[in-house]
């Protein structure tokens, strides 16, 4: 599988603050890649560097085989972008803006344009100044989706859309994926990330915390186990990977990571199990764990080594 985006050691400073501090990002061709992280983590800065709007201070960046700063115009023929905070020219109508942006890229397929307008239920005759945030986002989305670009870069494209439009958006992205397009999707909507993304990169404070498929990420975080036993289990506290252990007579409750799971279960079985429930981390817990720095530095090192 070829690599569409390869970023390593990316550094960007704004005055004294380091917005990006050695960020890593790999996006394979044809995949939908989720780009998530708390506010201010550096997602938009990364995307703007990938578009050649900002210049990196250090690091290697390859986008579709080119340098985003030097080859900006050539690369932009092959990608389409939806900014996070869409502002439009107030006196132009939505339809005019979609046409203008499409023509800059070499023209739009009118049937595709009409279909997308209908799908997203947008009135193209309204002036941009009277559009709501969601409608402004629709203008930028339609302009991007109607293009023949091989890559889409989307910065929180659905933050102003209603659930109906969110569903329309997800359907569109799946179609794009089926047509072999690469999508880099920055998003805060975890259900959207789970539904759409093949792989996910989580960043925090300008660094990549973890990267992988959602199943892989789940495996690396903690499962909560509570059990009713016949007798109190011996040595559970000493088992590597077990945390937050509470023992109340014969009932136990603890969390355990993927590596300690097998040994912990063996100990439980040896004590005799009356009942057992195990909860995998919810998606929210998974992200919060990484957002708040719950992931330890050695864990990061471990993931990066993988």
């Amino acid at each position: 599988m070829s690599i569409a985006i390869a970023v390593s050691g990316l550094v960007k400073r704004f005055g004294r603050t380091r917005a990006l501090d050695g960020l890593e990002l790999t996006v394979h061709s044809g995949e939908v890649h989720g780009f998530v992280g708390p506010n201010g983590a550096g997602k938009t800065t990364t995307l703007r560097i990938l578009l050649g709007l900002l210049r990196a201070d250090a690091g290697q960046i390859q986008l579709l085989g080119g340098d985003p700063w030097r080859d900006a115009v050539a690369l932009h023929r092959r990608l389409a972008y939806v900014p996070g905070d869409v502002t439009l020219w107030p006196s132009l109508t939505g339809g005019e803006i979609i046409d203008l942006l499409g023509r800059l890229q070499g023209g739009l397929d009118p049937r595709r344009r009409a279909a997308l307008l209908e799908r997203f239920d947008l009135d193209p005759r309204k002036r941009a100044r009277s559009y709501s945030k969601g409608n402004r986002q629709k203008v930028a989305l339609i302009a991007a989706l109607a293009s023949e670009a091989e890559m889409l870069i989307l910065d929180e494209p659905t933050s102003g859309l209603d659930p109906l439009m969110e569903a329309a958006f997800q359907a569109c992205i799946r179609e794009e994926q089926a047509r072999g397009r690469t999508v880099l999707l920055s998003s805060h909507i975890l259900a959207e990330v789970e539904a759409l993304c093949d792989r996910v990169s989580i960043i925090r404070a300008g660094r990549t915390v973890v990267s992988g498929t959602i199943a892989e990420l789940r495996r690396r975080t903690h499962t909560t186990i509570s059990a009713e036993l016949v007798a109190p289990p011996p040595g559970l506290a000493a088992t590597p990977g077990v945390r937050d252990l509470t023992v109340d007579g014969t009932s136990v409750r603890f969390t355990v990571d993927g590596e300690g799971l097998e040994q912990a279960l063996r100990l439980l079985a040896s004590a005799g199990v009356r009942s057992l429930t195990s909860q995998p981390p919810t998606l929210e817990q998974l992200f919060l764990h990484h957002y708040t720095g719950g992931a330890h530095e050695q864990e990061v090192a471990h993931h990066e080594a993988v």
Binding site: L51, A72, P90, K126
Partner: protein, 532 residues
């Protein structure tokens, strides 16, 4: 209007004061400083009586500025200071009101405020309170400075109030425009057009001797109605104050009835698809700037037509004291071409300063587009940075050229129709205006340079350069700066003292090259920097 409609005014007034803490003192103090400058200039003149006689009998100055009444220091202060002071107050009041009403609404901040326990009219009320109080304060400062300079107290108060009332009128018209028009840009544009129109009515009044009915239509000439130091007409003063209150009342009525974000006219649906031509950054830049550009061309075309029409009524006598008061170069010029042509030359030269301002603001649109993040919508497409930046710079250059052509055409037609001889006047006026195009281009180039290299300071730097060049010109007129020093300014190469037949082509071509070079360096700077 219910009392609850005004709830929160005091808090909002504090907010407006906080936001305007640098801007407000500027326009409140400036009129008093201008009057003070006039007073100290006259005090320093050894023969001010002679100077005044010369000013009031000189056909050129009196065509623009009218007679000096009364023929005393007080009259001379009014003669220039009252007009300048009124312009400052009108602009200050207009821009302040729009900034705190429609601009807030457009930016969505009004929504944040109206969601609180704040009355529907509170924002308008706070903005107007600020502008009215500031105008009054500025007027009273003018009165104080005048009394301090030894002028009679009664006249000083009438002068101060006359200026304040001009500010009130524009505050009210600005508020009304902000209620009726759908955008802050439109409200500001309409207000500026009214200020420009009052310049025209002022000149018409002066051309008619200074005391015609036109004076009522020009807040810049209201001192000709209230006559400070020369009769002090208190009743006319009251009429003007009542007049200036009218738009304020209408603004409140409209504001109490309309939706947030709405205007008087419902937005009509626009085209669902773009016109075939809208396919490049340049086409978009023209689409964004065409309304403003055409508006400028029409407005300045009309102003120059009015100036042209006045030319035949300019007396062809040459004042006796001319030679001692003005630079020798100017005297030789008037002697060579006569007062009438000289009047037109000066008029077109003043308009050149305005056109340069248009060129600068057209280029600075780049900065607006970048900050509003609309630039990135285009630059994320296959549009190179040079191509995008060039679009607005080219509109600025072509627009300035077009407006100057309209100026030449207007002046030539106005003059030609007044004397019934288009064949002589049109080429002369067009020659004068076309020769000024390279000068405006240098300012366009300077703005592009500032935008490319110092984006955050682009506006301050470009307007600062224009201000410095105008100051240099004024210093030359006051004979504090020599002609060879003035040659450092691009304005000198299309100067009004150069007879049209003696305009040298090569320095003008040099200015074109300089403008291109400045813009190119700005473009290189823009290609290398981050987008904000």
């Amino acid at each position: 209007m219910k009392p609850s409609d005004l709830a929160g005014t005091t808090t909002l007034l504090r907010l407006t004061l906080r936001r305007d803490r640098w801007l407000l003192p500027l326009w409140v103090l400036l009129p008093a400083l201008l009057i003070w400058g006039q007073l100290s200039f006259l005090a320093a003149l050894p023969d001010w009586q002679g100077f005044l006689r010369e000013l009031t009998t000189n056909p050129l100055t009196s065509a623009w500025l009218g007679p000096v009444v009364p023929l005393s220091v007080a009259g001379a202060v009014l003669w220039r200071g009252a007009i300048q002071g009124a312009i400052v107050l009108m602009l200050g009041a207009l821009l302040t009101v729009v900034r705190h009403t429609r601009a807030e609404e457009e930016a969505g901040r009004s929504e944040l405020i109206r969601g609180r326990a704040v009355g529907r009219l509170a924002q308008l009320n706070a903005a107007l309170a600020l502008a009215l109080a500031a105008s009054l304060a500025a007027g009273l400062l003018v009165s104080a400075v005048s009394v301090g300079g030894g002028l009679p107290a009664e006249g000083a108060v009438v002068l101060g109030l006359t200026l304040a009332v001009a500010g009130w009128l524009m505050a009210g018209l600005g508020a009304l425009g902000a209620q009726l028009l759908g955008s802050a840009r439109a409200a500001r544009g309409a207000g500026l057009a009214l200020v420009a129109a009052s310049l025209v009515t002022m000149v018409l009044n002066h051309a008619g001797g200074g005391y015609t009915g036109w004076a009522w239509l020009s807040p810049l000439s209201w001192y000709r109605v209230t006559r400070p130091f020369a009769g002090d007409d208190g009743r006319a003063m009251l009429v003007l104050a009542a007049l200036s209150a009218a738009p304020i009342g209408v603004a409140y009525v409209v504001a109490a009835r309309r939706d947030l974000g709405g205007g008087l006219w419902q937005e009509r649906p626009g085209p669902a698809t773009a016109a075939p031509g809208l396919r490049s950054p340049l086409a978009l830049a023209w689409r964004l700037q065409r309304g403003l550009t055409i508006g400028w061309a029409i407005a300045l075309g009309l102003v120059s037509a009015a100036a042209g029409a006045i030319v035949p009524s300019v007396s062809s006598d040459i004042g006796t004291m001319l030679s001692t008061l003005w630079p020798e170069r100017w005297v030789r010029f008037v002697e060579a071409v006569g007062s009438q042509e000289a009047f037109l030359a000066v008029s077109l030269y003043i308009l050149l300063i305005l056109v340069s301002g248009y060129g600068i603001s057209a280029v600075l649109r780049l900065r607006d587009e970048e900050q509003a993040q609309r630039a990135e919508l285009l630059l994320a497409r296959p549009v190179s940075r040079s191509q995008w930046m060039a679009s607005h710079v080219l509109i600025g250059a072509a627009g300035a050229a077009g407006i100057l052509l309209a100026v030449g055409l207007g002046a030539g037609l106005g003059w030609g129709l007044a004397v019934g001889d288009l064949g002589a006047t049109l080429p002369l006026a067009l020659g004068l205006s076309v020769a000024k195009i390279p000068v405006a281009w240098v300012l366009v180039g300077a703005a592009a340079l500032a935008y490319g290299l110092l984006p955050r300071w682009a506006a301050a730097a470009s307007w600062g350069v224009l201000g410095a060049l105008v100051l240099l010109e004024l210093l030359w007129e006051a004979q504090l700066v020599s002609w060879s020093m003035l040659l450092a300014s691009p304005f000198a190469y299309a100067h009004y003292t150069i007879p049209p037949r003696e305009l040298a082509i090569s320095p003008l071509l040099g200015l074109v090259a300089l403008a291109g070079m400045l813009a190119a360096i700005g473009g290189l700077g823009f290609r290398r920097r981050d987008l904000s």
